[in-house]
Symmetry: C2
Subunit: 600 residues, 2 copies
């Protein structure tokens, strides 16, 4: 089968090096960051940025997709002494939708024995945090969030409106521990996904983004999905959700997890539904449970669980313009309606928690009743479910399970903040994880933009992770280009949110890029941008010559009209004359030359 060993995109981004910062409490940890070198004429140190790309951007790393990434957390997990390996659940044909022969995606070549908690223990980061333990994962995250700052003293002057978020000037491992213990942040880190580099999702950390990938019954293959995962993290995806729904779902997921440097999320209901032939009403607690264990053993880091859809809420959706638009939500609603009872997810959520705590699978409590149109935003169904998600959060926390809460959807701008406020209030400050929201329904083909607007705003208001939307939303499955556009758009939204919240390090990159722009360091401008390739190629469309990259003007205005160039003349003149004296002279001048309104 030609797809046996997929090739993926590797190599550093322009002028960039992957560097590592060592831990202090845990000297063995090496926290990756990206340093972007500037032109020598800048006289500035490299700019350090967050790096979600994993070993793929490290030219020294040996990448072998059929072996998977190094299992960097394996030793940390084993050292805790609270887990053991075991044989694991046998893979059966239903796990791959009964795909056979050449239609069956081959198994991942290596099988690692799964690990789980011994004796019903909770092996979650939350359990450790509550016990006062600062895990290597927590220190890793603390270092990562500081973006290379070494101490509080290096923080920028703070400027922002955080709406109650409290991001410290400098993140300590103890701060991370406390946030996890309080449930205000999570580190999605299944003990069976030791390849992932720990990251935090919480209102008091950098805003994160998620990219969705996954095949469907209609299209897409394993090699494409693995490359989409690598590609998405290259451009900045902090987590990836595998939303596959077709055949081969088990094997494709294995290839993705073994090669993923970021946490992987899934919606286990999709696979459970495949196992019962796509008939929602045939779903059972047992099939679902089996699927959770299957995926927990593979290493899925967070599960979307649509346990908030309750029977009495379904009539609330009947007069909606767009009914129920969440796949998981509609499946569960159909089940509830058919059996005329509460869903097994809701009734047996404690059982689901038992599984999650044994592997440290985090919950992403799904918003099955999220609005699918402007007309349906913030309605009774949506908020009723949100309140139930708040109840479920307490149940999960009682079991030391890590929780985040999913949010909408389609919401006009004036109704966005109410979503954040209500979520904080009813879900005990568990991290919010929203899809967009889309601020209008009228632009299919541009829903990365309709939703990027809403994402930036809700990120500012306090959402911890933004689920990307690609240009293909509502129209088709995203290809590699769509994934990139979606990721870059959401990096913009997340960064705009960090700036507005007043994150102490967010503006460093803006300032470095703007200085490069003002000083006509074109290469630095490209290299510091979120997408150096696109910036460079757009510049070169009009002024392709290498000489133009040192030109003190660009194609928009040409040399005569270049405001930046004139600004330099002004600055030079001002400095020649002495700034203070000049200002004084101008103030006199202002009185000598009588302005129009003084004459009137």
């Amino acid at each position: 089968m030609k797809d046996l060993t997929p090739t993926v995109t590797t190599g550093p981004l322009p002028a960039s090096r992957r560097v590592w910062h060592a831990g202090q409490r845990h000297p063995e940890i090496r926290v990756p960051m990206r340093e972007i070198d500037l032109h020598p004429t800048a006289g500035e140190p490299p700019v350090t940025v967050y790096d979600s790309s994993g070993p793929y951007t490290d030219p020294e790393a040996e990448i072998a997709i059929d072996r998977g990434l190094p299992r960097l957390r394996a030793g940390w997990i084993a050292a805790r002494g609270d887990t053991q390996t075991y044989a694991g659940r046998a893979i059966n044909p239903a796990d791959n939708g009964f795909a056979e022969g050449t239609r069956l995606v081959p198994e991942f070549p290596l099988r690692h024995a799964p690990r789980r908690a011994t004796q019903g223990r909770a092996v979650t980061q939350m359990a450790y945090a509550r016990a006062g333990i600062v895990t290597p994962e927590m220190e890793f995250v603390a270092i990562r969030e500081n973006l290379g700052r070494k101490a509080q003293a290096e923080a920028l002057a703070r400027d922002g409106e955080s709406f109650g978020a409290a991001i410290p000037d400098f993140i300590t491992p103890e701060f991370v521990r406390d946030e996890i213990a309080q449930g205000r942040a999570i580190i999605p880190a299944n003990i069976n996904h030791p390849e992932a580099e720990p990251m935090a999702i919480g209102r008091n950390f950098l805003v994160k983004i998620n990219a969705n990938i996954g095949n469907s019954a209609v299209t897409s293959s394993m090699a494409e999905e693995v490359e989409k995962m690598v590609w998405a993290t290259r451009w900045g995806a902090d987590t990836v959700m595998d939303l596959s729904t077709g055949r081969n779902i088990h094997n494709i997921r294995d290839w993705i997890i073994r090669n993923s440097p970021v946490p992987i999320g899934t919606v286990p209901l999709y696979q459970a539904l495949e196992k019962v032939g796509g008939i929602a009403e045939d779903l059972t607690r047992e099939v679902f449970r089996d699927t959770l264990i299957e995926q927990a053993e593979q290493g899925v880091d967070y599960f979307t669980i649509h346990a908030g859809v309750r029977l009495h809420m379904i009539p609330m959706t009947v007069n909606r313009v767009t009914g129920i638009v969440s796949r998981g939500g509609s499946i569960m609603a159909k089940w509830c309606l058919h059996h005329h009872r509460e869903s097994f997810l809701y009734e047996h959520f404690d059982e689901i928690c038992e599984i999650a705590r044994a592997y440290d699978v985090s919950f992403s409590l799904g918003d099955g009743l999220r609005p699918g149109s402007i007309a349906d935003a913030n309605d009774a169904a949506q908020f009723a479910e949100l309140e139930t998600l708040g109840e479920l959060t307490q149940i999960a926390w009682a079991k030391d399970c890590q929780v985040m809460i999913e949010g909408p959807g389609h919401v006009p701008m004036h109704k966005i903040k109410a979503n954040m406020d209500k979520q904080l209030q009813v879900c005990g400050e568990a991290p919010f994880y929203t899809l967009g929201p889309l601020t209008t329904d009228i632009a299919p083909g541009y829903d990365h933009i309709t939703s990027g607007i809403g994402a930036a705003m809700i990120g500012w208001f306090g959402t911890a992770m933004l689920c990307y939307v690609t240009p293909k939303e509502h129209l088709g499955l995203p290809d590699r280009d769509d994934v990139k556009v979606g990721v870059i758009t959401y990096k913009i939204a997340a960064h705009a949110a960090d700036l507005a919240k007043g994150h102490p390090a967010a503006q460093i990159r803006d300032d470095a890029l703007s200085r490069a722009r003002f000083e006509f360091r074109w290469e630095d401008q490209f290299n510091l941008s979120l997408d150096p390739e696109t910036a460079r190629s757009m510049h070169d469309e009009t002024l392709p010559k290498e000489a133009h990259k040192v030109a003190h003007f660009c194609s928009m205005c040409g040399p005569k009209f270049c405001s930046m160039r004139i600004s330099h003349d002004i600055r030079a003149e001002a400095q020649k004359d002495g700034m203070a004296r000049m200002a004084e002279k101008f103030r006199e001048g202002g009185r000598l030359y009588l302005p129009v309104e003084d004459k009137a």
Copy 2:
């Protein structure tokens, strides 16, 4: 010369017809709108949307670029009896940058004698409004803003947060008159551009967008610019600014204006600078005045005037990260610095007003000191200039001149609202017209998105017109594709703002599209979108067959996972059973099936 008669894009958008609504006070006026027909199965009337595209989308219209558009306002203007035609200023070689021979763009073939006010009268819409006159332009705008609604009773339930804007349920001609008289709105409508269809820019009307076109010394030709203008209005640009700076500036502008159905704005300083060989300090009051008259006679509808840059403000920019980034601002700053005096624009602004009132050229008071980076947002220089723009507004209003105020720029989200609040406060509620703002500096190549976020927000807060930013911002001159992406992005921002402000008709299109989506009317979904071509082609990438356009699922989820389809089943089941009874049963059920937390 091959460019003699450019061809432009014509023909209706899919399923769309251009329709006209007649005036009541002025029965001769015909206000264009676009009606989008829906599939018969919808059982819904056509959706009426605002139409800025002019006759180009009307298959009945005879388009001849070398004759120009019909001069629809000619009779209205003449009938007022306060203007006269005259010989006009002679065109001289400097007007076209001394281009000669084959390098000279030919003159527009028809020369219409220019018209100006008799005996120093003010022939502005503001003067008429203050005199209590409801002009045909005002009634045209009233009908246009209502989007085909015939009476207040047809208004939707209002829902929004308008931050003090007061959009009535139904716009009357008298309301328009009052808004113009108060200076809260403008109708940019030079008496020498009778081809344009009147439109309003004001906080209590639909949010408008502007598209910039124009050649530079480096690139671009006349035919391209005319097509860019037609293309931009096809996708929704409400006004177009011609920012040309190269040779042939006069002749290209003539071709653009004679064929433009929307108001045309310029920055006369650019041409004035060409006339003095590009040396800022050689600019004079006389050259500038001559340029204003030249452009007023051609029919430019609004002038950006950078009269707010004052001598004492220049030192305030010296320590900025990006100095002065407005071309006009930097030119005037250089002039002030060189001559060490206040600019002739500021000192003789009353003289500029005399010209503007004789032709009804509106002012767009330029923000020459707008911030060019996040670091420089909302600084002393920016706000000092804004206060001066407030002074100038009063001077212009005293002469019955129409005014709008330009705004930034680069502004992080938490500093956006302060811009709007301060503008309203110091500029007497004159309409605000902003460029973006860009909410981060780190994404060249995607600045339509970084700025679309800010534009949607500031539009919501009260900005009347949003100046688009294309993906090429900071990198190169936009081509036709960039213009379209910029326009669509800004239509999204403007529409998201209308929704959030609670415009009484804004949600009609969202609801129609969402109903189409829910009912799998794919064609309607495409046709109702801002860019039907792109929506259709993205859908067809995955599911190209015609049969799939009636399919009750799409490529994202496939048939089994289609939430919309399941929602229909749910709705059917609910209706079968009787909604109220069902809800009652569910409430009982909710008590029978004991949920998890009740057991605890």
